[in-house]
Symmetry: C2
Subunit: 101 residues, 2 copies
Amino acid sequence: MTRTLPQPATEAIDLVTVLQALGDPVRLELVRTLAKEDEPRPCSIDKYDVEISAPTLSHHWRILREAGLTTTFVNGRTRWVELRREDVHSRFPGLLDAVLA
Amino acid sequence: MTRTLPQPATEAIDLVTVLQALGDPVRLELVRTLAKEDEPRPCSIDKYDVEISAPTLSHHWRILREAGLTTTFVNGRTRWVELRREDVHSRFPGLLDAVLA
DNA sequence: GGTACTATTTGATGATTGTCAAACCATCTA
DNA sequence: TAGATGGTTTGACAATCATCAAATAGTACC
């Protein structure tokens, strides 16, 4: 019913890849938005205050997911994104907290 | 006698720029090496275990300095680089610690 | 089945990036 | 002053990246 898109295992999360993913203003803003709630958020373009097109947003979600920062759930026609807070924290303690502070 | 190359003020250090600077394997390694000692290190190519040319190393030092992560001192013909631990920590508490852990 | 809808993929484009060789600059020393 | 030295800047190149329009894929609803 609810499928999860492929993502790296916690142990496989790479620091350089994470920093690269966070080193983009749009993605940092997305991560900040996700961090406000501790549950999945829809990933539709109209739910975010960013000045990019839908394909570009989709591209950023992929970068974040493949870096190990987010999980994407597929449910019917809509998708949900969630920050992998605990996973990232267990791999790089304090990193997300510092970035989100 | 000892000159300091231009660098951003502590308050002007930008998070995205810092993350971009750290999001490169060579630069992350350089920062890690700097972090081992709490004093300036020479920036000559032969002092670092990196497989890049001198101009490329020079380029990376510039990126790190302009991001606000390092200070470069000029003394005669040689230069010294130092991690701006306290400055970065005061701007983004915990960030460097998390990255260097 | 057909249509509307959500979101991604494809393909293309302009900008940025990491890299090096060659030229250059400033400093030290003979 | 001339040569050697430490390091940077310039210029070029290939690779990567962020971006969008158009096409595509999968799902829901009538």
